[in-house]
């Protein structure tokens, strides 16, 4: 994914707020990168732009070789489909659908993409087994532990083989041991699925798990020298 000159402002005139100011960055497959910054620095706004749920004011974005945003204008009519096919989401509090069991929480994404329900459930089962929560495939989210729920959420994010996985504070609700496990898992999955992971986080425990760290301050990306990053 490549971002060039992404800007986003809210309001006009005296009430104008520049949430993002010409943010440019590049993320390669199999990379796990972090977005850091104080509250109000624009991390969530940037995540929303990358996730195609917020219209930027300016800039371009290339995703998996396709120019999806140019000069602040989306180049695809159906962003929902783009998200379904190319982007996976991992939330701080897993956001599993409480009325679906673990398998169906993963299968629903596949079904939305047009996969037959039986095939979707089969694939969901495989993903849950890969993430070592297969034994909880029929458990409802309320019955899952925090770690188990997060693994199910990761399986859901991976269901459609996305190219980019956006994680919003993926380990905030976990203790340090589980946080480390989840990050190692994400790295492993990024490699296996040839995807890139961009995580918004404040969790210092896991800083060493990232290939690159981008620091946002007042909507601008701090000079984060790529040559300093560890891949």
């Amino acid at each position: 994914m490549r971002l060039e000159g992404i800007s986003k402002h809210f309001g006009e005139g005296e009430t104008r707020v520049d949430a993002l100011r010409e943010v440019s960055l590049e993320v390669f497959p199999r990379q796990v990168v972090a977005l850091l910054g104080p509250s109000g620095s624009g991390k969530t706004t940037l995540l929303n732009v990358i996730g195609c749920i917020l219209d930027p004011s300016a800039g371009s974005m290339e995703l998996d070789g396709e120019l999806v945003l140019h000069d602040g204008q989306w180049q695809r009519g159906d962003l929902r489909r783009l998200r379904l096919d190319k982007i996976g989401f991992i939330f701080q509090f897993h956001n599993l659908l409480p009325f679906l069991d673990a398998t169906d929480n993963v299968a629903v994404v596949l079904q939305l993409a047009g996969v037959d329900i039986m095939a979707a459930r089969k694939r969901a089962g495989e993903l849950l087994n890969d993430l070592e929560v297969g034994h909880r495939e029929h458990a409802m989210p309320a019955k899952l532990s925090g770690g188990e729920a997060q693994r199910v959420a990761i399986a859901r994010a991976l269901a459609n083989n996305p190219r980019i996985i956006l994680a919003d504070e993926p380990t905030a609700a976990l203790d340090s041991k589980r946080a480390g496990i989840v990050m190692d898992l994400l790295r492993k999955l990024a490699v296996e699925h040839d995807a890139a992971i961009i995580a918004v986080t404040h969790d210092e425990k896991i800083f060493d798990r990232f290939d690159r760290i981008f620091q946002l301050r007042d909507g601008r990306l701090d000079g984060s020298d790529p040559t300093d990053s560890m891949i």
């Binding site: 929303n48 996730g51 379904l84 989401f89 679906l100 169906d104």
Partner: protein
């Protein structure tokens, strides 16, 4: 997988409880419709009981139900001699209160001539009146039983037969006695001064007056033409059966119809508002989930479908509960409740439409959900 079904199943107890509440409300709506239908049926039942084509009443009246009508009893002979008339009979109607089992029993007494039109339309139990005096056929709803004796005026009558569904528009059960007994009863119940005058023959009225003469015509005869003939006679008016039923349904039940209609409409509006609020509340409780669904790529139609299906399920189950309840308890109502399949079907369609429209509020809220709200804690 069906998201609406899965969501309902996840909160099944609460959903069913909501359906029950809605069902009770819809049951009341059905009951109101049935009560109105029963009112009309009761009002028309007495008029339809003689199974006649023509009613001869006092001139310039719309009797004998909507207005008072008194005509000489011998008019029946003249009516019977009209070419198209196959049978004619005199009838009287009066409301009487009688002592029964320690309380007052209000009865609609119908006096008719034996072997002539005007008697009970069916005998559900026992037999018809065979003797000239002091026998009675009573409607089941009066609570009277076969062989029971009851005093009307100064005389005691024996119940020899039971009929059913014979009540007047006020809900009073009908009892049939002979015409002479009914005329005598009118005399017994008349004010004392009038009785004295009548006995002396100086009151200007005599015992042989009736409320109407009813007539059956040949199958090919024109009721309107025969009625026109009778209208040319002095002091008489003639009303066809169709006109009589129209008078009854318009005059006697008109106010009740409007009142019940207004009440039913209000209940339907209340039901619509309640359904809308329920669906809206159910949607608002799921905003985070809706945002998540949108974020992971669910199209709007999936979310709309979930909400609309839940609204329709709510309406359907609620309607079934309400209809089942009313169908099973309607016979215990003090007044007749008449529910035809088309009434139930029409209300079902209205409920369907209401649910569809009511879900609009929830759908609107769901479509406005920003998928970005799924991100963040």
């Amino acid at each position: 997988m069906n998201l609406a079904y899965r969501d309902i199943r996840h909160n099944l107890g609460r959903f069913l409880l909501t359906c029950l509440g809605l069902g009770l409300l819809l049951g009341v709506v059905l009951a109101m419709i049935g009560i109105y239908r029963g009112l009309v049926a009761d009002a028309l039942t007495i008029a339809r009981a003689p199974a006649v084509d023509l009613w001869v009443v006092e001139a310039n009246t719309r009797g004998p139900f909507a207005e008072a009508s008194r005509i000489p009893g011998d008019i029946r002979e003249a009516v019977a001699r009209i070419a198209d008339v196959t049978a004619a009979g005199s009838i009287t109607y009066q409301t009487v209160e009688a002592e029964h089992q320690g309380g007052k029993l209000r009865l609609y007494v119908i006096g008719y001539e034996l072997t002539r039109p005007g008697g009970p339309p069916e005998i559900a139990e026992g037999r018809e009146i065979a003797r000239s005096h002091y026998e009675m056929v009573a409607d089941r709803s009066s609570g009277l039983t076969l062989s029971e004796r009851i005093q009307l005026g100064r005389k005691t009558f024996t119940v020899v037969g039971l009929t059913q569904h014979q009540v007047n528009s006020g809900g009073d059960p009908a009892v049939y006695i002979t015409l002479s007994d009914a005329q005598k009863l009118q005399f017994d119940l008349a004010p004392p001064a009038a009785r004295v005058q009548l006995a002396r023959g100086t009151g200007g009225a005599n015992l042989d007056t009736v409320n109407a003469v009813v007539a059956r015509l040949h199958p090919n005869a024109s009721a309107s033409a025969t009625a026109a003939t009778i209208r040319r006679w002095k002091h008489l008016a003639a009303i066809t059966q169709e006109e009589q039923e129209l008078i009854l349904s318009r005059s006697l039940v008109d106010r009740a119809r409007r009142q019940i209609g207004l009440f039913t409409s209000l209940l339907l509006v209340v039901s619509a508002v309640i359904i809308a609020l329920i669906i809206y509340t159910m949607t608002m409780e799921k905003l985070k989930q809706i945002a998540t669904l949108k974020l992971i790529g669910a199209p709007d139609r999936t979310i709309i479908g979930m909400i609309v299906q839940q609204a329709l399920a709510l309406g359907l189950i609620g309607f079934v509960i309400g209809a089942t309840l009313i169908v099973n308890i309607k016979d215990y109502f003090p007044r007749r409740v008449v529910l035809e399949p088309d009434n139930v079907a029409v209300l079902g369609l209205i409920v369907f439409a209401v649910c569809l429209l009511s879900s609009g509020l929830g759908v609107r809220a769901a479509l406005r959900v920003d998928p970005a709200t799924a991100l963040g804690g």
